[in-house]
């Protein structure tokens, strides 16, 4: 780096020596770059500022003004619960699968096909969310109906499978599965990155000691990648919390708070609630929806902060 700095300085000196025209070009160009950088920070701040300013009327509105609800808190709380439930469910399903997929690509599949397999996993991330929504309601939901009926009959004593099982498949469990598919490529991309960076020395050392491949993975690859996998899971969670269209299309909503995953009556999520109600809303109802969007923004921001903080801490180590 020091080497580069000297040459940079030399370049700047030469440029300075050869007259003002070049220096002006440099100044304009570097100022443009700084402006672009500042624009981005301003954009992010702008998102927060405009959501606050447009959501503010709903935050301060009296209970009489809000359509059918006592206060903003009692309106947003069940939605926040639904958002968290869907996100956590998706994460619980996706993370083990994503770790397995990452291990398969980095350590088990032949190196020649690994690249192609990685591309296929990335394609999962490229598919628009509305198509996941269609797939969930027309394909996965109906296919999951008999399975959910079985869960109700055999495991109904567990509160989350209490039922009565939905006959349309528009349940929280199906939403969780679809969201899991959507966040799997994100989590597995992070896991893949770190698994492939496991020091060769450690892996070869384990194998030289006679470890089988699984013992090598368990003793070197997994401990090395643990904190990155955790932060990858948080990034996936952030994505699942903000996912809109798939949830809006699939979930059959009643608004209550329940952990029951397989029934027809589910809590909605913040994002889906906005998408479903925004087109028909006006006046204070719009401010109310924007205020819930602000809550979602804060929740996902906190999740992402945490994830980045874990990554940063792992890198320092």
């Amino acid at each position: 780096m020091a080497h580069l700095d000297t040459t940079t300085n030399a370049g700047q000196l030469l440029a300075a020596a050869s007259g003002g025209r070049r220096r002006r070009g440099d100044r304009i160009f570097s100022n443009t770059a700084v402006i672009a950088a500042v624009t981005i920070l301003a954009l992010l701040a702008g998102v927060a500022v405009f959501l606050v300013s447009e959501g503010f009327p709903a935050l301060t509105a009296s209970s009489a003004e809000l359509p059918g609800h006592e206060s903003f808190i009692s309106y947003v709380a069940p939605l926040a619960f639904g958002t968290a439930l869907a996100g956590v469910l998706a994460m619980v399903i996706a993370v083990p699968l994503a770790v397995a997929v990452a291990l398969f690509i980095t350590h088990i599949a032949p190196a020649r096909v690994a690249l192609l397999l990685g591309f296929l996993v990335d394609l999962l991330a490229a598919i628009p969310s509305i198509i996941y929504g269609f797939w969930g309601i027309f394909v996965l939901g109906p296919a999951a109906v008999p399975a959910m009926k079985w869960l109700e009959e055999k495991l109904g004593w567990i509160p989350i499978f209490e039922g009565p099982a939905s006959i349309t498949g528009r349940t929280m469990l199906v939403v969780g599965m679809v969201l899991a598919v959507m966040i799997l490529p994100i989590v597995s991309a992070v896991a893949r990155e770190v698994f492939s960076q496991t020091p060769r020395k450690l892996q070869e050392g384990a194998q030289a000691l006679g470890a089988t491949r699984w013992e090598m993975i368990r003793t070197t690859v997994l401990p090395f990648g643990r904190s990155s996998v955790i932060s990858g899971a948080m990034l996936g969670l952030g994505r699942a919390l903000g996912e809109t269209m798939a949830v809006a299309i699939i979930l059959s909503v009643s608004g209550g708070v329940t952990f029951n995953l397989i029934s027809q009556a589910n809590p909605s999520t913040i994002a889906a609630n906005i998408a479903l109600n925004f087109p028909e809303s006006s006046g204070l109802a719009i401010n109310l929806l924007i205020a819930t969007g602000l809550v979602l923004f804060v929740i996902t921001l906190a999740t992402n902060f945490l994830a980045r903080w874990i990554i940063a801490r792992a890198e320092v180590k």
Binding site: A10, G11, R22, I35, A37, I40, V47, P128, G242
Partner: protein
């Protein structure tokens, strides 16, 4: 380090990582495939006998049974540790299969269902004043909205990446790195609400314009462009910059004439992938661009339809001829997926070409 006097290889009773337990034999090389095939046949036979046969159940039970059977077989012949290794390997391969199943099912369904709604009229007519009709207005809208988003995002994104890689130091650079990461996590609906709130403040309530959608999409696209551009700029070799400086080239000319051309294909790849990511967005456009039946190619005037929102509305309010509306929704989905796939594959091809050239 001297080796331990008695290594487990000679059959010592001490349990260590060296120890070979069990029979010490080896399964034939076809053993995993044999276990999978045997398990599938066995499960198919049992399920058929019980009258529960479906492909999905056969695959699920077949996968479970494969893991168990390879474990039992290997344990008998090779010992506990090798058996565990084989079972875990089998389970990981099965998990990969589980993860890929949705992709295959989804592509199959979109293609088979979408093909029904695809026709010449679908691409050439609008749904203005007719029942059904085509999606030409939505396709034009998608291209205009996405095009504007690209025009906004690419200069800002690439200049910011240049700042981060070529100029940046100190707190602004650190803040930028951190907040770009944070920005990639903004939910798409929040980006839509931001664009709506921004325009509502200046133009009054219930405003809906194509350009609002583009701004919402830019919020999502800029961080992706920066991330990929930064990666590409980082791998431009320093000796190219140094050579340029040695010739007395000013920094801005070094960047525009040396660094950017070297990184060009990589930058194009990044922009194409970012475009593929935003072209199918629905939620932010639902709240910003509105719903309309007729063709509108002017992003600064009036509502604008796009493919994803079109598909959603065909599904949400199908009207009397429900099935044909669903067909159109799937056809729009198929069109979107084809565009996304073309962008993705083309991006990889550009990148591969670039990689061979840089050698």
């Amino acid at each position: 380090m001297t080796p331990p006097p008695d290594s487990g290889l000679s059959g010592a009773p001490r349990r260590s990582i060296f120890a070979v337990e069990g029979g010490g034999g080896t399964l034939p090389s076809w053993a995993p495939y044999g276990a999978v095939a045997g398990s599938l046949v066995f499960c198919a036979a049992v399920l058929a006998a019980l009258g529960w046969f479906t492909i999905a159940l056969m695959l699920v039970f077949g996968a479970l049974f494969s893991v168990l059977s390879i474990y039992a077989w290997s344990r008998a012949v090779e010992g506990r540790r090798r058996a565990k290794d084989r079972a875990v390997t089998m389970a990981i391969v099965a998990s990969f299969g589980v993860a890929m199943a949705p992709l295959i099912s989804l592509l199959y369904e979109v293609i088979s269902r979408g093909a029904k709604g695809i026709s010449w009229d679908f691409f050439t007519t609008t749904s203005r004043g007719v029942v059904g009709g085509g999606a030409a207005h939505a396709i034009v809208g998608t291209l205009v909205i996405t095009g504007c988003a690209v025009v906004i995002s690419v200069p800002i994104g690439i200049m910011a990446a240049i700042y981060m890689n070529e100029y940046g130091r100190g707190p602004l650079r650190r803040a930028l790195t951190f907040f770009v990461d944070v920005m990639t996590g903004i939910p798409s609906i929040v980006a839509g609400l931001f664009a709506y709130a921004l325009f509502e403040l200046f133009f009054g309530p219930s405003i809906q314009l194509g350009i609002m959608g583009s701004i919402a999409l830019s919020v999502l696209m800029i961080p992706i462009v920066i991330r990929s551009a930064e990666e590409v700029l980082k791998i431009v070799p320093n000796h190219l910059r140094e050579a340029a400086y040695a010739l007395g080239t000013p920094k801005w000319k070094t960047i525009t004439k040396v660094v950017l051309p070297t990184a060009f294909a990589g930058l194009v790849t990044g922009v194409m992938l970012a475009t593929a990511r935003i072209i199918g967005e629905t939620a932010p456009l639902l709240v910003t661009t509105g719903v309309v039946d007729s063709l509108n190619a002017d992003p600064f005037q009036g509502r604008m339809q796009n493919l994803a929102v079109y598909a959603y509305n065909q599904y949400r309010s199908p009207g009397v001829m429900k099935q044909s509306a669903y067909d159109r929704a799937w056809a729009a989905a198929l069109t979107l997926i084809v565009i996304v796939m073309i962008l993705n594959v083309a991006a990889r091809l550009v990148y591969r070409r670039y990689k061979t050239e840089s050698r």
